[in-house]
Symmetry: none
Subunit: 612 residues, 2 copies
């Protein structure tokens, strides 16, 4: 996802901008650009590709100047190329902008500007934005702060932006729907999408509030206007988060490191929240809203991508154990409906980053309808965690690999605890059942460790199939979402078209795809539909598909039919998803590596999707 | 969709009648009946259900005789039972008839017959017809050929019929508005609704002309009178059409024929169930269980494959209009869970054939849990229709193409009516809104006809992409299921790996698949998320994907971005799924044809999945 950064101060702008872009790298991007002012003139550098290539290109000829802005872009409008890279400049050549997010009404604004004689050199909404500001400024003879305030009232969308004027020693920043943080140092201001680029520079920050427009000038007082034209006073806070040094710990990729961290992160996520020998489970948030949750008419999950798969597992667990009806919604779809939700419902939002734009918008809608909001996030202090009435953090630690792994398993841990706690409140579980279940949960990290030892075996299977163009993943019950997740991992990092299906649904259409070139991964470690899944495997084999099955240790039936079996330790049915996803993560990882793909930075993807 | 057949000759009549009924099977039917003459007495067999059940019932005791008539009946309105099945017999017991079509003035004829002392055992117009012939014969002391000629001059309607007299070795046939063909063999005559049952018996046929009455007797010359009492000479021709062509009405494939039948089948499915000018909508089943449905805590849909996609559209419509929470389940998954469902819930089962094994099992489970069962099927008298407390038939006629098309659109029509009726009960719609919505529904068949005229344009697009290995289909809101359905059609008949996604979800993973080789079909004819879907298209184009968009006529924005647009008539948001699926059906069809695939018999698939 895009990141923007701006610097104004006594020092050189460019090194700070580079440092910031570097910190954004984990967000994913396809192009970068910088703009600095020196002697009243702009100097721009744009590059479609990685930051290090830009650095190499520049060598020692780094641009000078005490003011600058920069951008790392994840293309939403227009192909990724240097022309479309930020910063963009206004028609007069005076104003430059970097921008993150989407302008929804850019087409109509552009039309008006074209009528006024404005020319456009790119397909971007960003170029429309800077010219719209210029147009408003000229038309109303306003100063730039006023012009931005007026212009932004007419721009529809969720975005943040930084503007500089080559004739003025100042920098302007707007937050509308996308976070911006200002680092305050005695000699400089740095504005950025998040605090990652700031932490090594200063520990004093301003978290810009929604709809605020800032004017920052070195040696001058900060001016703040909100979009309603009310002057505000900025609040300076201490930056408390320490930025951990991120290393791969000897692993080839962050993704692999994170797959291997799962036993520990699963422990971290349940530790202190349950006790097997004493037979209790307690998530603080669930406890706090115990009555409301107990009486919930429906629990509605809203999530995207991998988190949506975790929600599907949650649906299964909560319905099975707590007997509360659950509905799982794509957050992006929920928000554009007129959903049936009210004060008797609970809305559970799941997001690793806690910044997923679609999920945030869905929460807002659920909140308007009086639902209780329960957030399950990994990033402490994230927007979603702040918006929620209650919630639980997954303790997965920072996840850098763009393909989510440990965030998923820890989300499933939290959802399992939630289901057990609600079931316990309702008296659906005997003391013995609860104890036994929690005892088994305590064994899961060790079972995952055993699965990780199958790495070489999985690597060999991956080698055999890494040139396949297509994959199907099948599962049943709580392992159907695992089939979806296994397919998504493969899509994300290997660019193989992989699709997940409930195993029995295959015969209603997708079975037409199966021939001798189609590998089919079957998750068959849950007991309840074992015989049916054996039939499904036979259906695939009858059409000459290649079957790779995840089975429980000691399985003999499937072993006799499938082309490959990956034997994993048996567990209770409700924990089957938690263990069976791990071999699928490894399979996707190794296939991607065999294909020579850039595992940690897959094309087109970004870690946290903060545009809608 | 009825079919009639008659035999007279040296051989046994019954096997020929059975063969004929078998050939009619593609027309669909819900009851069959036969009548043969042996030793001057009639022997009748009637069965409400499938032909094979009749065969089983008879075993080796098949009726004997060298003369016989038979009928297969497809009830679109009203019940099918043995009483109403053909053949029907005259009061004297001498004459028997099978008849296809409608007698418009049967009420007045019946009145006169009742005055004359005739008794009636059924409500059918057919029984009136045979007695009217008997009455004319007796009154005028005419031979049967003359009597039929006179009687038919007084009967208003479009029909064809075959009559036999148990005391005479002859068979009579009349064509008036509905085709009849006579197969001529040296040893026998066979009369039938079309040449399908004849083609394996003889290649010499007489295509009966309008208003002709035939007398066929073995070893005697054929006599032909027309209704104006003029004697004619029959013309014997060579049967040239292949059987398949006859059944396909000139289309290359059943699937294409069925796609083109949709305007009529949509009309058949709403006709009599709503009235736009009077502003009412009434599905009998919904009316019958009005209170239960009105108070439903949740409506749970259970279905598989294409029907599951219809259920997703139904979810959107019912939640949006009737404000009742809806959950859509894969029938195959539902049945292996311990689902949360009780007497306050309604379980809606959707299945074209009414014989889908997984759906039947899901109904059993829902029934055990006291839920009201509502069936939506196409096959009258199918297992699901019998298991349901209430239900509505789609009036799609027999669907032969394995890839379902008209069954889907008519399912959506029924679900739309259901949503509107429930919304009306709840007072969620003003009279004006309801009228306007129903008025627009009446326009849909004409709009679908317009879309069918885009066939050549779609064929050209199909040609361009028919070698693609993968496709993505994107949609939002009620058109997200249409994206799924479009992808399923392509999977089923072209074996291309196609996958549907909610458009906004793409950026959470599948976008990694997009490069210059990936065609992306975007359903963009629903207005509510138009700007968002424009952004989604931009995201695809930014990664060089090829975009084929379904848009409303006159769209300019997407036209400027997409590689191809298919412009279809605009309609209300709730009808967007109903119209946008049609171009996707054509696209899948033409791609499969360009690839040389066997459209009507795709590999690995079966029409109705009656195994689990």
């Amino acid at each position: 996802m895009s990141g923007i950064i701006g610097y104004i101060g006594k020092g050189e702008a460019f090194p700070v901008l580079l440092h910031g872009l570097n910190r954004f790298e984990f967000r994913g991007y396809d192009s970068v650009g910088t703009g600095t002012i020196s002697n009243g003139e702009f100097e721009f550098h744009k590059h479609a590709g990685k930051l290090k290539d830009l650095k190499e290109k520049l060598g020692d000829n780094t641009p000078k100047g005490h003011i600058g802005i920069a951008h790392s872009r994840w293309a939403t409008h227009g192909i990724s190329n240097e022309l479309n890279s930020h910063p963009h400049v206004s028609n007069s050549g005076k104003l430059a902008i970097v921008h993150k997010g989407i302008v929804e009404n850019y087409a109509s604004l552009k039309e008006k500007l074209v009528e006024e004689g404005y020319k456009f050199h790119t397909e971007t909404d960003t170029e429309v934005l800077i010219n719209w500001i210029e147009h408003i400024q000229k038309e109303g003879d306003l100063n730039l702060l006023e012009a931005i305030q007026v212009a932004m009232n007419q721009v529809v969308g969720a975005y943040s932006l930084i503007v500089i004027d080559k004739e003025e020693n100042a920098m302007y920043a707007v937050r509308k729907g996308a976070q911006l943080v200002i680092g305050v140092d005695k000699d400089a201001y740095v504005v950025a999408t998040d605090s990652a680029p700031l932490s090594t520079l200063t520990d004093e920050v301003i978290y810009m509030e929604e709809k605020d427009v800032y004017r920052l000038a070195h040696g001058e007082e900060i001016k703040v206007l909100n979009l309603d034209n009310i002057t505000k006073t900025p609040i300076i806070e201490k930056l408390e988060e320490a930025l951990e040094t991120i290393e791969k710990d000897g692993y080839d990729h962050f993704m692999l490191k994170e797959i291997y961290e799962q036993p520990q992160m699963i422990i971290d996520s349940f530790r202190g929240r349950m006790n097997a020998s004493e037979g209790w489970v307690r998530l603080g948030g669930v406890n706090e809203y115990r009555n409301k949750l107990n009486k919930a008419k429906r629990i509605i999950f809203g999530a995207c991508g991998t988190s949506w798969h975790a929600a599907l597992v949650g649906e299964y667990l909560i319905e099975e154990l707590a007997r509360i009806p659950v509905e799982v919604e794509y957050a992006s779809e929920f928000r554009y409906r007129n959903p049936i939700i009210d004060g008797d419902d609970v809305f559970v939002a799941i997001s690793q980053s806690g910044e997923t734009a679609d999920t945030i918008a869905a929460i807002e809608l659920a909140k308007e309808n009086q639902a209780l909001i329960y957030g399950i996030c990994n990033s402490v202090g994230s927007t979603i965690s702040k918006m929620s009435h209650a919630g639980s953090y997954t303790h997965a630690g920072q996840e850098i690999g763009i393909a989510s792994t440990k965030a998923f398993t820890t989300q499933v841990v939290i959802l399992t605890l939630m289901a057990l706690q609600l079931a316990d409140y309702k008296g659906n579980l005997s003391k013995t059942q609860l104890n036994a279940t929690l005892f088994e949960l305590e064994q899961i990290p060790e079972k995952v460790r055993k699965i990780l030892k199958l790495d070489d075996e999985i690597k060999a299977i991956a080698k055999e199939y890494h040139q396949a163009n297509n994959f199907l993943f099948l599962g049943r019950g709580a392992c159907y979402p695992i089939a979806l997740e296994g397919a998504l991992k493969l899509k994300e990092i290997s660019y193989i078209h992989a699709e997940g299906y409930p195993a029995a649904e295959m015969k209603h259409g997708p079975i037409a795809l199966i021939d001798e070139n189609m590998p089919v991964v079957v998750v068959a470690n849950n007991d309840s539909a074992y015989e049916k899944i054996v039939s499904n495997i036979q259906e695939v084999k009858a059409r000459k598909g290649k079957v790779i099955a995840i089975v429980n240790e000691g399985d003999t039936v499937i072993k006799g039919i499938a082309d490959h079996v990956i034997e994993i330790p048996a567990t209770l049915e409700i924990f089957a998803p938690l263990v069976s996803v791990v071999p699928l993560q490894l399979l996707a990882y190794h296939i991607a590596v065999w294909r020579g793909a850039d595992v940690d930075n897959p094309r087109n993807l970004t870690k946290s999707v903060t545009v809608e």
